[in-house]
């Protein structure tokens, strides 16, 4: 009986000593951040306000992105590319380094441009102010906008002169960096790894098919292409190559990738086709005069 009493006493003393530390330890943890109820966006001279953006969101956006901004709108189950989850605040199209939040202008441009090959249309018909308001509102869904600042946009150096050598070097990089593993040797998005890829939500995701169009998800200019592989597409298997590719090499890669878009005329494709080698390669890839005569594009 005495041993039991001693044990209780020891446990009590131990508890008295440990609990305060435990409490102190808990007290040291910062309270979980909550999304801000009000946010602003700043795009040029425009200032967007989340209160006005909310009304627009519940007119235009909630069907896919959901009333809670988590990408679970009533239409989401029927989409093969899921709507963006604004709560996670992970965005593909950024001018900022991988892992950082995009700038307001990045989001503004995304809303304005839309995402090709997805159900997200271009909202060009809205006014600039309305788009700015929408950007402000979607920032109220995630605490990240409270605890973090947007990343610093990367510097896009001036595009060097287009040459055959640049295109060929870009092709070598395409092999060396193993871009083909996902995008395929012809850029059709059918590389050996393509069928295994998933995004951060464990949803199957298909690599970009360069032959389908000259509009990538994040824009159609060479600068947009440059930014894609120097910032990566967060939330997807497409990493940032900023640490392994020098800017001049990145431009060569851009030039080469344009030649894969052989259904869409570009200076790069024109130059590439001016060489016998390039002309033969492009001709071998193109699908012409199908039996239906309907001009099918692969």
């Amino acid at each position: 009986m005495r041993n039991i009493t001693t044990l209780k006493l020891c446990l009590s003393v131990a508890s008295a000593l440990i609990l305060p530390f435990g409490a102190f330890g808990q007290g040291e943890q910062p309270p979980a951040a909550k999304p801000a109820s009000h946010m602003e966006s700043h795009i040029g001279n425009l200032t967007g306000h989340s209160e006005q953006g909310r009304e627009l969101y519940f007119r235009y956006c909630w069907g896919c992105h959901g009333p809670h901004g988590d990408g679970n709108g009533e239409n989401a189950p029927y989409l093969n590319i899921l709507p963006r989850n604004f709560v996670a605040a992970t965005f593909k199209c950024r001018s900022t380094p991988t892992g950082t939040l995009p700038t307001d202008e990045d989001l503004f441009n995304s809303v304005k441009r839309g995402f090709n090959f997805t159900n997200m249309p271009s909202w060009l018909a809205l006014t600039d102010q309305e788009r700015a308001n929408l950007v402000a509102f979607i920032k109220t869904y995630s605490p990240r906008w409270v605890t973090e600042k947007a990343g610093t946009p990367i510097t896009v150096p001036t595009e060097p002169k287009l040459t055959i050598e640049s295109i060929k070097h870009g092709g070598e990089l395409f092999q060396k960096l193993e871009c083909w593993k996902c995008h395929g040797q012809e850029g059709r998005g059918d590389g050996p790894s393509a069928s295994t890829l998933t995004d951060s939500n464990d949803q199957p995701i298909r690599p970009y098919n360069f032959t389908s169009d000259n509009r990538s998800k994040c824009g159609r200019t060479n600068q947009d292409l440059y930014k894609i592989f120097m910032t990566g597409l967060d939330g997807t298997p497409m990493p940032s190559f900023a640490d392994v590719v020098k800017p001049e090499d990145a431009w060569d890669l851009v030039h080469y990738l344009r030649t894969l878009q052989y259904n869409n005329p570009s200076p790069e494709l024109t130059l590439w086709e001016s060489t016998p080698e390039g002309k033969a390669i492009v001709a071998a890839k193109q699908v012409k005069e199908t039996s239906t005569g309907s001009g099918i594009k692969p």
Binding site: R59, Y60, N75, L79, N119, P121, S122, L124, L126, Q129
Partner: protein, 475 residues
């Protein structure tokens, strides 16, 4: 049917009772419905709520207008049918069960002694009813090949084709080159097919359909035309990528949209071609919204007599002796955040042969004495307060003022029109699958001096009003 020569007090009482009832019904519905949507086929195709394309359906938003101008395409390479489930069928239905009351004051009716004597009375009809049905099919056949087919029935189930057209979009890769062929609505900024009022008096734009009276009791005798009517022909339309600038020009068959070269009930159909042009420009004004101004003009011609007849009846499509008529106007759509105001000035002119129903081969000697080419001015102001995507308040006032009467003997204000409409539409839910609205509306129209009093022999006004409670749904 109530026929009362002097029922003003009872009418007012009943009107008040009905209004009170509608307000009470609204209150109940507002509280009974839980939360916050047309061609719902598009909503289903793209998974977007009706409110994306419609400020309050069927009224288009700028985004919806751009979608329409782009050939029912969002432009994200997911528009062609091959991207849809094979089970997807681009079809939607719209109909509106309703209760409505129509009241016509100064209606000439048989007197108590029978048909030998006539008196004027206020004729009121009311009860449960339903509208015609639109069967809306629209979409893309392939990328940049779109279509619209709208078999439409009247209340008896008799069908006609309200729209039937194919559109070639973005020719040569340009948003400025779009060609539409078939039967279609004119490129009216203030679309009558997307009107947000539904009653017998308020469900159309007076200015779009007005034709001058030849004399009291004698409507325009020769031809039928409505700027709001769908027309047969070919249209070129172009727009900037953001749809801020829009232009169109159409070559149209002069049959007011009727098939087989028939000109409706107006008389001889002709071989005439007509033209319509429209242009508008939108601009942003800070946080107020997107403002738009534009103009339009219709250059029509109609035959004045048939080249051939059979048993006295004209052979369709052989009308000759064409004489011109035209309509023109300016429109402004002004947005002040949730409040928007549409203003329109309208001008109309008919050739004197058309206005008097005189075959042109008779020459001016065949015209009635003191006959002139009639002309008139019109105006419209329509306001909407879009409280939310779920509730829109509507008000419209139209007026038409004759500038030149057809006959010197006519009263100066013969045919003048004043029309007032107000109401609201409440959408108890909005989703990406179907549209539903409680529609409540009152409309009153004053037609000046258009009929002859059987008792005094003098021209008197005809006043018509509608009270309408409808359940407007589309699926």
């Amino acid at each position: 049917m109530d026929v009362r020569g002097n029922g003003v007090n009872r009418s007012r009482f009943r009107l008040g009772t009905t209004l009170f009832g509608s307000v009470a019904l609204l209150v109940v519905l507002l509280f009974a419905c839980d939360s916050a949507s047309a061609i719902p086929a598009f909503a289903r195709k793209y998974g977007m709520p009706c409110s994306s394309c419609h400020e309050a359906w069927p009224k288009l938003s700028p985004f919806g207008q751009q979608f329409k101008d782009n050939g029912y395409q969002l432009g994200n390479d997911r528009d062609a049918p091959i991207f849809q489930s094979p089970a997807y069928w681009p079809i939607a239905l719209r109909i509106t069960p309703n209760w409505h009351m129509e009241r016509n004051q100064n209606t000439v009716v048989d007197g108590p002694a029978g048909s030998d004597t006539q008196v004027t009375a206020t004729v009121t009809t009311r009860g449960f009813d339903y509208t015609g049905m639109d069967l809306l099919t629209a979409g893309t056949l392939a990328k940049n090949f779109s279509f619209l087919l709208v078999p439409s029935s009247d209340e008896t189930g008799a069908f006609h084709f309200e729209s039937a057209n194919v559109r070639f979009d973005n020719l040569f890769g340009s948003t400025w080159a779009n060609i539409k062929v078939g039967k279609f609505e004119l490129d009216n900024l203030l679309s009558e097919k997307r009107i947000v009022t539904l009653s017998a008096n308020g469900g159309f734009y007076q200015n779009y359909h007005f034709q001058p009276w030849l004399a009291p009791n004698q409507p325009s005798p020769t031809y039928v035309f409505g700027l709001g009517d769908n027309q047969l022909g070919i249209e070129w339309m172009g727009h900037s990528k953001n749809d801020r600038t829009r232009v169109s020009a159409s070559l149209l068959q002069g049959t007011d949209g009727n098939p087989d070269f028939q000109a409706g009930s107006g008389g001889a159909a002709g071989r005439a071609y007509e033209g319509y042009i429209a242009a508008s420009q939108a601009f942003e004004v800070g946080s107020l919204g997107l403002q738009r101004v534009g103009g339009f003009a219709y250059f029509g011609q109609a035959p004045t007599y048939p080249q051939y007849t059979q048993g006295g009846a004209p052979i369709f499509g052989t009308g000759i002796g064409n004489k011109p008529y035209y309509r023109a106007g300016f429109i402004g759509m002004w947005y002040f955040k949730k409040l928007d105001v549409t203003t329109m000035y309208f001008y109309g002119h008919d050739n004197v042969f058309l206005a008097t129903g005189t075959p042109s081969n008779l020459g001016t000697d065949g015209l009635p004495e003191g006959a002139h080419a009639p002309s008139w001015n019109g105006a419209l102001i329509e306001t909407h307060y879009t409280w939310s995507p779920q509730l829109i308040l509507i008000n419209r006032y139209e007026l038409i003022r004759m500038k030149q009467q057809t006959l010197d003997t006519n009263p100066g204000d013969l045919g003048n029109v004043d029309a007032l409409t107000f109401g609201f539409r409440y959408y108890p839910f909005i989703n990406t699958r179907a549209g539903f609205a409680f529609h409540n509306e009152y409309s009153i129209v004053w037609n000046r001096k258009v009929q002859i009093s059987p008792t005094t022999g003098l021209p008197i006004d005809l006043t018509s009003s509608s009270l309408f409670f409808g359940i407007d749904f589309a699926f």
